[in-house]
Symmetry: C2
Subunit: 323 residues, 2 copies
């Protein structure tokens, strides 16, 4: 299958629903209109075979996830997703792989009224780069550097499932574990994360700092602490976890996965005391569970408190590409 046929296949299967797309797939570049009074929010993420996902990952899951990790970044800014560019590098022009990939991508895109407006297909070792674009009301994007001393620290949804799913997957690959229902639940969270777009929008004007949990809770809160010039204390017992996680792992392992695992694509954010009730109401309206996990303090770094309120010595850290 030739490049132009692949592009036709991708174009045919992706939603084209937005009136603000002046020119989509098929020209030298796409042309879109950002609504008046709004700023453009954009980011890019690359997933490499054998690094970010096993080579035999289902193509539809890859399509979903390659978009999800980017939408999660938009969510962390409080942005409304709108458009994506997709650069697909493939060892061969495998129409079946591309069809399934695009199905997964399009399924998530449709949930967020996002149009694929352009991209590139090249030959090479399998990797996927997605750039997404959205918009926020001017001046109101959520940022990492806005945590204030005294803020409560919160997280959406639950933590640790994806990292638990990766452990299950590795055990399966090593053939030393049968797949059970709890494992399947965790792996679904690994393969098909749900970016917290509605939650991000609900947090506009209510959260101070916000970040998505991709590298691991401690690593990501570390980014917030550093950018904001503050310290953060986390109560270990406050971390929200799933039944499946605690079915599959002992408490210590589960806690470690929650603190360091990454790939959660939840939002971690800080809220001034006076705004907490309004934030909770807004998150409830958005249908998003929210848990208080700690507080912003003067100082530096992220510290984990045990149930007695004492600081624990924490080993390990988040995802490091070149570690």
């Amino acid at each position: 299958m030739a490049e132009f046929d692949l592009i036709e296949l991708i174009k045919r299967r992706c939603p084209k629903a937005r009136a603000d797309v002046r020119l989509g797939i098929g020209d030298d570049a796409a042309v879109v209109a950002v609504p008046a009074g709004h700023e453009l929010v954009c980011c890019v993420d690359t997933l490499v075979a054998g690094v970010h996902f096993p080579l035999d990952t289902d193509a539809a899951d890859l399509g979903w996830k390659s978009l999800a990790v980017n939408l999660s970044d938009l969510a962390a800014m409080g942005a409304t997703p709108a458009w994506a560019l997709l650069s697909l590098t493939l060892p061969t022009a495998d129409a079946d792989f591309v069809s399934r990939f695009v199905d997964g991508f399009a399924e998530l895109a449709a949930l967020h009224q996002l149009d694929l407006i352009g991209g590139d297909t090249t030959r090479g070792p399998l990797s996927i780069t997605v750039a997404v674009h959205g918009f926020v009301p001017s001046g109101r994007a959520l940022r990492r550097d806005a945590a204030g001393i005294g803020d409560g620290v919160f997280v959406s949804g639950i933590l640790g499932d994806a990292a638990g799913g990766l452990r299950c997957l590795q055990a399966q690959l090593a053939k030393d574990s049968a797949m059970d229902a709890a494992c399947a639940t965790l792996m679904a969270r690994l393969n098909r994360p749900s970016p917290r777009v509605a939650a991000g929008l609900a947090l506009l004007d209510l959260a101070h700092a916000c970040i998505d949990v991709s590298d691991g809770l401690l690593a990501d809160l570390g980014h917030v602490a550093r950018a904001s010039g503050v310290g953060i204390e986390i109560e270990e017992d406050g971390l929200p976890g799933s039944t499946a996680l605690f079915e599959c792992f002992d408490v210590d392992t589960a806690r470690a996965l929650q603190l360091h695992g990454g790939d959660d694509y939840e939002l971690a954010f800080t809220v001034a005391e006076a705004q907490i009730a309004a934030m909770q109401a807004a998150m409830s309206k958005a249908g998003c569970r929210v848990s208080r996990i700690g507080r912003v303090i003067a100082g530096a770094g992220v510290h984990v408190l045990d149930r007695n309120g004492d600081r624990k010595h924490i080993q390990g850290k988040g995802w490091e590409h070149f570690a």
Copy 2:
């Protein structure tokens, strides 16, 4: 070197000159402001080691070229470049490679007042994905589908040098040729193409259809013909070429490189007869050579005419990633 150090290195060396960047490198996503009355223009291109460039290509040339091929797409839309996202996939966290890469990238970025506003660094087989963003006055982007029957067909600059440079490079690698001055000229055009941004801006409201010559003149004019529902006739003797090209290759080879070679990053465009004088004046003001190479006709396909005006039978085609 860890990922965060690489990002710091990239951030430090890239220009940060634009007032419309509300939030650049270092958050979950970048935030920028598109000027009122303008639409956003964006595209993405991936260069893979061993496919788009030899593994031992100079890192600074790669940095330049990975941005240049994208700016060329913006130029073909008549867009003003503004912001870029860079996703760099590297086998190892090689600080020296990244420094040189960013130097080349930043050198071209500075020429076009473009800011690097975000990106991703991952481990994997060497490849580079750049997404660029610019803007056009609303509704005025140049497109592929706007060629009109009777239009003259024009090209900026000269054709064939980059493809000639690639031949020289391959001969050098095969050790059957010494590097001479003409060869060096051609290879410089291969490694450091100059995107025709000023020319694209000069063509706004004057050109009908426009495309950049990346896949090869015939292939790219084929895209214009197909999108516009017209045919195109090219006069072979009208193709602008450099002295260096005709020094290095016989006439038939040189012509083939001009027609099929690609990687020129010139603009090919069509202009209504009544606008030709104004277009020539605008291109002259932009400091850009322009040559008339043919005309738009009723029908389909791209046809090459010999000096007697007869259609030649043309073999070969442009760059096909999965051919």
